[in-house]
């Protein structure tokens, strides 16, 4: 297995993200790969299937900038604040483009990533009991336990073309450490055909304990050092979540013009990794 290439964020995105890809950006509140998402917007990627359990501002921005054809998700909101206005505008009014959705529960998506990492064709779990989601999503099916006869939910394993995550550290060989709230990032990388990891810093020694959450170099395509690459989400041990940014996003995203102007000055006219602050 080839080891990760340590490179720049521009190159990592240019080499690994293609128009039409299915693309998973994960991070459960913590370590959301904002800088990488912005670079994907800047490079003008189109027709993407965006996959994320909790699409938040980064997906609101990618959808609003016209990168997405389809969204796979399980909870789409601005946590503690309200709606994602760009996501809603796309679903409710096709702006800037129509957005197909594939909607799940968290339990289902977590299981689907796990099954993807485990090389299985589908995830089997106890879920989707008595609700309407299977009526609107034909990728929710069932299998019968051959011992008890219980009907269990089944959905296809998540196998994105590309997974993008942000973590605290990589070492110079390209091994990556995650700690704190680890979400489904390890599974997303293992489930994907290609992967990009942005990190706060590249160090000589990762310093994790004997059972630290580590992705070996040979499971990753490209690594780029991008300090503050998760801002306005947070990186445990580096910087806190900027809750005020999440609150400030609401009025920016409500209006198409305000949104486009903000993206132009804070993302499009900046360089990779420069941040939006």
């Amino acid at each position: 297995m080839p080891r990760a290439v340590i490179t720049s964020l521009e190159e990592a995105v240019a080499e690994n993200v293609r128009d039409g890809d299915s693309l998973s950006l994960e991070g459960f509140t913590h370590l959301i790969p904002y800088a990488a998402g912005h670079e994907i917007i800047r490079q003008g990627r189109k027709d993407l299937t965006l996959i994320r359990m909790t699409p938040d501002i980064i997906f609101d921005q990618m959808i609003g900038m016209g990168c997405a054809r389809k969204l796979v998700f399980s909870w789409g909101g601005n946590p503690g604040v309200g709606s994602l206005h760009r996501m809603r505008d796309a679903i409710e009014r096709d702006w800037p483009l129509p957005l197909e959705i594939e909607e799940h529960s968290h339990g289902a998506m977590a299981n689907a990533y796990e099954a993807g990492a485990a090389g299985l064709p589908c995830a089997v779990f106890r879920g989707y009991i008595g609700n309407d989601l299977p009526k609107v999503n034909d990728r929710i099916r069932s299998v019968e336990c051959p011992f008890t006869g219980e009907k269990l939910a089944a959905i296809p394993a998540m196998r994105p073309d590309v997974a993008v995550i942000h973590t605290q550290k990589a070492d110079r060989r390209g091994n990556v450490l995650l700690e704190g709230i680890i979400g489904v990032q390890k599974e997303a990388v293992l489930a994907a055909s290609r992967s990009i990891v942005t990190v706060e810093e590249i160090v000589d020694d990762l310093g994790g304990g004997p059972n630290a959450v580590i992705l070996p170099s040979w499971t990753i395509s490209a690594i780029a050092a991008v300090p503050d690459g998760a801002f306005p989400s947070y990186a445990h041990g580096y910087y806190p979540r900027d809750n005020s940014f999440y609150k400030a996003w609401d009025p920016i995203a409500r209006d198409r013009e305000t949104f486009r102007a903000w993206m132009d000055s804070h993302v499009m006219q900046r360089k990779a990794g420069e941040g939006v602050q």
Partner: protein, 260 residues
């Protein structure tokens, strides 16, 4: 704040807090469930175990999280697990005693909608955030408590979409759908508390918050709400409960303001 010395929201949070028993393992959401669970932990239930779906096990936050994965939750947790492990070993594994659920809409059987309102599913009038962890919390936690401010728009005759199963069509229909847990055993609003009728499983009013009338409750409910034979008044919040709750909110406001 009313002239009673506490707000309706405070009454609601305190009632929810009291419903948690010491030692129970509780799956918490952000917002009011988080306030209620942490109030319980800091008053009558010091050993209540709080779990957030971001993977934080047995967390003791000093300030309430704005999101489900705030750093405060990870730093005060006994340990953090991956999200797949959280949903497989801890929720589906049957380790959760109580799950808190919020909603945009609830019906008389405690079924919940957090998906779409109006229009069609593909072209809804209002697109809500969606399911999150709720569908599996609703069926895997031993029992669930629903927390929701009461209004005819929220307490509806018929849901636009069933995101999470409550008591289905009532009677035995929840179990027939395959659920093996109790479902909603309690609904706590800003006006009253409800519990399912043992036979029909319809939510009926069991306690009314001080100062609230039956007419107010009926007017705020989109279905023909029923009252239990022996409705009591919800005990008023104790001064200690209010003091602790307000201190939690004050600490939270200071902490979040500091992150500007």
């Amino acid at each position: 704040m009313s002239d009673r010395g506490y707000t309706a929201d405070e009454m609601m949070t305190v009632a929810a807090s009291r419903a948690l028993q010491n030692g129970q393992v509780c799956f918490v959401g952000i917002g009011q469930p988080s306030a209620a669970a942490n109030l319980a932990r800091q008053t009558h239930a010091p050993d209540v175990v709080l779990i957030y779906e971001s993977g934080t096990l047995e967390t003791r936050p000093d300030v309430l999280p704005l999101s489900i994965g705030d750093g405060e939750l990870a730093e005060t947790a006994l340990t953090n697990v991956s999200v797949p492990e959280m949903f497989r070993y801890w929720l589906q594994g049957g380790r959760i005693d109580v799950g808190f659920l919020g909603a945009a809409q609830v019906d008389r059987f405690g079924n919940i909608n957090t998906t779409v309102i109006g229009g069609t599913y593909l072209k809804p009038k209002t697109r809500l955030p969606g399911a999150g962890g709720a569908p599996e919390i609703a069926t895997s936690a031993r029992e669930t408590f629903i927390l929701l401010r009461q209004s005819p728009r929220a307490f509806v005759e018929k849901l636009d979409f069933i995101t999470s199963l409550g008591h289905g069509n009532g009677g035995n229909s929840r179990a027939e759908a395959g659920a093996r847990t109790l479902g909603p055993t309690r609904l706590i609003s800003d006006l009253c508390q409800m519990a399912p009728d043992p036979e029909t499983r319809e939510l009926i009013v069991t306690t009314i918050h001080p100062g609230v009338t039956r007419d107010q409750i009926t007017a705020a409910t989109g279905w023909d709400i029923r009252f239990a034979d022996s409705v009591t008044e919800t005990p008023v919040p104790e001064p200690t409960e209010l003091a602790v709750l307000r201190e939690i909110h004050a600490r939270t406001a200071r902490a979040h303001a500091g992150q500007a």
